[in-house]
Each structure stands twice: as structure tokens, then as C-alpha cells.
Symmetry: C2
Subunit: 232 residues, 2 copies
DNA sequence: CCGGCATCTTGACAATTGTCAAATTCACGA
DNA sequence: TCGTGAATTTGACAATTGTCAAGATGCCGG
């Protein structure tokens, strides 16, 4: 593991409060690895051997059933994924693959569980992290069940605009195929949703997003902090 | 609070490991209350003033947006709800109402957070509980995104059959309107889904469920532990 | 036991979303 | 720069799901 990655992950909320000893125990058995794009990291159903930390690049979490596949989330630096499976020592519920060249840290799950048992500050940090994850998935479920695909797209764009400091123009963070899957629709349907939103003040040309009329777009999207605000 | 409710909630995984002192601190400020059916307990967006424990009856967690409403889960005895909001001191993401006459324990959130800070065993129990909640919602999201409404119904029935010890005949645990909402469809669509499953070995007459051909039903439902097994 | 009301079911229809095939655009390596 | 293959878009169509209205059923209180 590169020496300069240590302070980077140490500063994560999940690891910042724990004792120096515990942190040392955690990273002692860890290793860092760089993966090319589109590499399968884990497969749903596998035992949770590692807790992963995305240091650079990005990782897609997805799931399969009966020949169908859906994208559930994208993990960006610097954060961890599959913490719940690691702590519970349960099989992964989601598969993971890199979407681009990515540097990952792999922490052996047994070490994570050992430190979790010993270090109280770490145990509390895990709570905060899991509570955050839980609330994010609940918001996701609300988004899926309460909104049509056009509404989901409109709100997705507004969320990313907010994340970019309220920018009117920015780039899509993933290819459209993946975005469609994440939003719970087909790529064809996403194309049509994009066209349908043009009269409501949204233009997407390639990866370029332009909000031409925020008022109209918000009137249609009706963004709601209890679904769209990913800070609370 | 009735004296005989104390051992009942003390035996919950969430409370069983904590110190006697901590438990006492927790229940000292708690109060127990019995509510009639269809009483609104909390509303999404409200500050998380209490952690709730369902002692008897049942509570529906639901959410609203833009005039639409969807049922997200049903909490049955004995378990808690809205633990994540309580710990994070964040607004509720879901509303809650009793579905029947229910006895609930209300633990002031501040007390829960205080004990969480002090009692390490409790902090770890919270982790286990939250990890469980998280994985349940993830399974739910997979169910919604990967399956059609008919498949969701078929798997719902098989899950409840399993929960009833593999029974071939049992009663629906909620009215159809609520079930439809939970499964992400309209009541009309649920009616049709029920009819569509008759040739596949499922009969639902009123609240009575009869699996007449488990093989065919499973062939259609393709149940999967990574979506349908609520024990892992 | 009956009436009234909510739930559930059904039919007809509309909207949404998915599927398939073909055309077009785009990105990347030779 | 060009060619190749993947991604995206479009059109035509089908399947799924929702909406509305009406009728049937079931439950509860008087």
C-alpha cells in the first residue's frame, strides 16, 4: 500500500476516531491494488472476505436476477463499500465492478470484525456509516416507488446540479446505459425521457447536461429533501 | 409501562447485551402507550424524538410524495423502528401508522443517543440491527428493480409460506390494498396478478392463500436467497 | 338481520415502459 | 485520418401497469 494512501483513508469518518493501534491493526493486513476498468471485484452471494475502500476511480454496485441486471449505486472516492456484509459476516448482496481504472484498498473482513470488537470508537463510526447507507437506500426505494422514470431523471439532474454547486451546466458522471439502469429503466426509455424533458428546461447532449429553465424543471421534478438530499 | 413489558424488550437483540445500568437509563424515561388502529404515529420530516418498539399489534411505515403514497414495510412485534433517524438525530424518512390496535414503547431519542455514547455493548448491538435493516432495504430494492409485479407477488407468497413453516395454506398478513402498495402496484393490478397466478399454482380467496402447485409457482417466482431470505 | 360503507374485483381504456431492429453517433486504436 | 465496434437514438410495436367507473363482496354497527 502506498504510504500516502494511509493519511487519506485515516481521514475518513469511518476510521478517523479509532485508536492508532486499531488503525495499525487494520491496515497491517490490508493491501492496495489498482484495477483496470470493467473488472469484476466481487459477486453477489460470495462470502464477505474484504471490506473495500475506493481511493481513486469508481466502482459500480449492481445485482442480477433471472438474467436481468440492475445498477444499484456508484461508489466514488473516498468511501467504503459492503460494510454491512463485512460486519455481519454475511454474503454480499451486490456484485461490484470497476467502471474506470481504480485504486482500491482491501481490508480483510476478519481484521475489520476483530477491530470492531475491540475498538469502541470504531464501532460507533460503523453505526454512523451504516445509518447513512440505510437512509440512502430508503430514499432510493422512495424514489423508485413514488416517481415515474421522467421524474426520476429530472430529479437526478437536479441533484447533480446541486452537488456541482448549483451549476447549470455539467457533465454526466456515468454513461447513459448505466444511468438508465440506475434510474430503473432501459437505455431506450432514458433517451425518450431526455427528449421529453426538453420542453421543461433540460438539454442533454452527449455527456453534457444543460439546465435551460430551472424553474420549469423543478416544477416538474418537485425535488424533496427526504428523497433527494444526500447529506442528511 | 407495564412491568411485564420490561423483560420482553430486554430480550431483544438490540437491548440484551447492554449493562443493567444502561438499560435502566433507557427505560426510565420511556413510556408505553396503546393506540387504536389507523393512528398516525410519526410523519416523515419530523425530528426523531423517539425510538419506537412495537410490543403488540403492527405498524406500517410508508412515505408520500406529490400526492402519491407507498407502503415501505410493516413492523411486527417485537421490534423497533426508525433507529437510524434516532441515532443520527436526523428527520424521519418515513411516516408510521398503526394498522391495528397496538402497544408501543417510546424511548426518548436523546436517552437512546446518550446510552449509545456510553454503553459499548449497546453501540455494537445497534450496528447489528442497522446492518440487518440495511440489507433488508437492499433486498427490497433488488426485488423492485429486477422483478415484474407478478413475480413480486409470487415471491411474496413463497416468502410467507416459508415464514409459516412451509405451509401450503395460510392467511394474508395485511389487507390487499396495503399489500399492493407494498409490492409497488395498484390494488387493481394486484387483483389481476392474483388471477394471472392461478394457472401457476396459487389461489387467493379473500385473505386465504392456497399454494396448489408449489413446483410451478417456484418455477415462475425463481426465489433467491439474496432477495427473499430475510434471515441473512 | 339488515343497511351502509369500505374493500375488492372487473371491464374498458390510457399511459408508461419494455423489446426488437435498424440507423446514427461516438470513441478509440491502428 | 480512417475504420471498427460499442453506445446511443429512433421507430414500430408489444407488454406491463395505471386510471376510471361500475359492480360485487364482505364487514360492522344498529
Amino acid at each position: 500500500m502506498r504510504p500516502d494512501d494511509i493519511p487519506a483513508i485515516r481521514s475518513l469518518d469511518l476510521f478517523s476516531d479509532m485508536s492508532e493501534d486499531s488503525f495499525h491493526d487494520l491496515v497491517r493486513g490490508a493491501y492496495m491494488q489498482t484495477f483496470p476498468p470493467q473488472v469484476d471485484l466481487i459477486s453477489e452471494g460470495d462470502p464477505a472476505d474484504f471490506l473495500y475502500v475506493v481511493v481513486s476511480g469508481s466502482v459500480e454496485l449492481y445485482a442480477r436476477w433471472n438474467g436481468r441486471e440492475t445498477s444499484l449505486s456508484t461508489v466514488r472516492p473516498i468511501s467504503t463499500f459492503i460494510l454491512a456484509a463485512t460486519i455481519k459476516d454475511a454474503p454480499y448482496l451486490m456484485s461490484a465492478r470497476t467502471t474506470e481504472k481504480s485504486r482500491l484498498i482491501l481490508l480483510p473482513s476478519q481484521d475489520v470484525r476483530d477491530v470492531f470488537e475491540r475498538d469502541n470508537a470504531f464501532a460507533r463510526a460503523v453505526v454512523t456509516e451504516l445509518a447513512q447507507c440505510y437512509r440512502t437506500v430508503v430514499k432510493n426505494a422512495k424514489n423508485l416507488k413514488l416517481r415515474t422514470s421522467i421524474e426520476r431523471l429530472a430529479n437526478y439532474v437536479l441533484r447533480w446540479s446541486a452537488r456541482n454547486g448549483g451549476a447549470t451546466e455539467f457533465e454526466l458522471a456515468m454513461e447513459k446505459r448505466r444511468l438508465a439502469s440506475f434510474l430503473g429503466m432501459t437505455p431506450e426509455n432514458l433517451s425518450r425521457a431526455i427528449k421529453a424533458l426538453r420542453p421543461y428546461g433540460l438539454e442533454i447532449d452527449g455527456a453534457r447536461v444543460r439546465i435551460t429553465n430551472r424553474t420549469d424543471l423543478e416544477l416538474l421534478a418537485k425535488p424533496n429533501p427526504l428523497i433527494d438530499d444526500f447529506t442528511t
